[in-house]
Symmetry: C2
Subunit: 276 residues, 2 copies
């Protein structure tokens, strides 16, 4: 089995490690427009060989697209000559625009997936073996994919230890805005609010675990996240509205010294952890 | 040496474990208005004995106040009969109102401290040995405390592995709003924004590490945090304004599709981690 991985950053690189561990005999072929990433991926053993062009990867049995969403949409247009049994799996953070962009000729070959995992680090050196273990992967509009491709994708994700959730692409994008995209906007805003204070260094000298947790994802790649915000603009704006409504409630209760109501509102927030 | 710990929750209980480990011969006397907490603290070995009233604890050489800020202010009024060499250390999350409330009679006995540590859990069963290790403790207005009390507090905090930062109470409260209080308001708001969605369960089924980190402190005790928000109202409102200004910038750039500006703004946020 030949597996192509397009994009050798955190997601693609970690996938290489996980696949290699589970299937030592499979051949892993990497591709990345960044030549430093290619040599790092080889050195770190994330893939076995590097392909020089997208066209040379079409012979693979499985092709993973672990690049920003815009890149996925562009790459799909150039993958029309894959083998009939080829399975193309994208790992993009938004799904509706990607699914809508798949050329009809390869729609059966295509699987829309979003692994709900990551760290704030990026590039091949950020790749870790455990990234996918016991994490959720969302598969969207699966009935539009071929039967062989469905089986192949399910087996691969299960074999690297993932839990599978099925969802419509539009539903995925709405939910992902709340669970991932909007929280990134909050973390970036928190980091900037502190950084713009004159006393930023004295403030961060006091940072405990809470602040470190809240600001961790503010380290994330701007290139990746601008792309996600663009692709999921409408849902992101809606989720931001819902957040801002809650924050304004909080601000107003503090302003008006409505401490009992604030207490009740915090108790409501505590309940999240009954379902999480 | 007799050490009294008033409040046997996460902070007081963890302090008991840390002190017991460092000074096996010291006698630790606990006090808590919650009788279940008292019996749990004894069972878990957080303290050696339980005192029945605040008055019976005044004979201690050191008294820690690890209760909500309002409780600290009330307790200080009843501790006027401590021994001249007694060191009273409060661990409250805000400092200006506490410092202002100390009866002049015991001002030399008093040390205002804020350990920048915690977890989202609370009560004696949440106590852990490592809570204070290698964490920062802020000591405020230290020159107003007696020389013996300064030495005693510095030694105790250093002996349990803490790094010490000195600050004026007003400055502490401004900084703590940014680094701790406002982030709690964000986390509670995020949790409520998700919980009020019809599809809350489907949304949280997708939660990855980012969301778990951002919503962790939304599990925190409403009783404690209403108290903190009340005590630090003005600074909290100011820090919320600064946050909201950044979030609104982000929202506006997404709305107007100013992707280059958004990219630059995210790069600014990345810089937090150069100083954190």
């Amino acid at each position: 089995m030949k597996i192509g991985i397009i994009g050798l950053g955190l997601m693609g690189g970690s996938l290489g490690i996980a696949l290699k561990k589970r299937y030592p005999s499979y051949q892993l072929i990497g591709l990345d427009h960044n030549t430093l990433h290619c040599s790092q991926a080889l050195e770190l053993g994330l893939v076995d060989t590097i392909a020089s062009t997208l066209e040379s990867i079409v012979e693979c049995d499985v092709i993973f697209l672990s690049i920003p969403v815009d890149g996925i949409i562009a790459a799909l247009q150039t993958l029309k000559s894959v083998k009939p049994e080829c399975t193309i799996i994208d790992l993009g953070s938004t799904k509706a625009k990607i699914v809508a962009s798949v050329p009809p000729l390869i729609r059966k070959n295509f699987i829309a997936a979003h692994p709900m995992t990551g760290t704030e680090k990026f590039g091949p050196t950020a790749a870790i073996e455990a990234l996918y273990q016991e994490k959720v992967v969302v598969l969207c509009n699966l009935e539009e994919s071929g039967e062989h491709q469905q089986k192949t994708a399910l087996k691969l994700f299960r074999d690297i230890g993932m839990r599978i959730v099925f969802m419509r692409a539009a539903e995925h994008d709405r939910h992902a805005a709340f669970i991932s995209h909007m929280p990134h906007a909050l973390s970036f805003s928190l980091a900037n609010a502190v950084m713009r204070q004159e006393a930023a260094k004295s403030i961060t000298a006091l940072a405990g675990g809470g602040f470190r947790d809240m600001s961790r994802i503010a380290k994330s790649s701007p290139e990746m996240w601008v792309d996600v915000f663009r692709q999921n603009k409408a849902n992101l704006l809606t989720s931001l509205e819902h957040f801002s409504e809650e924050l304004e409630k909080c601000r107003q209760m503090v302003q008006d010294e409505e401490w009992d109501a604030l207490n009740a509102w915090m108790h409501d927030a505590n309940k999240l952890h009954d379902i999480l």
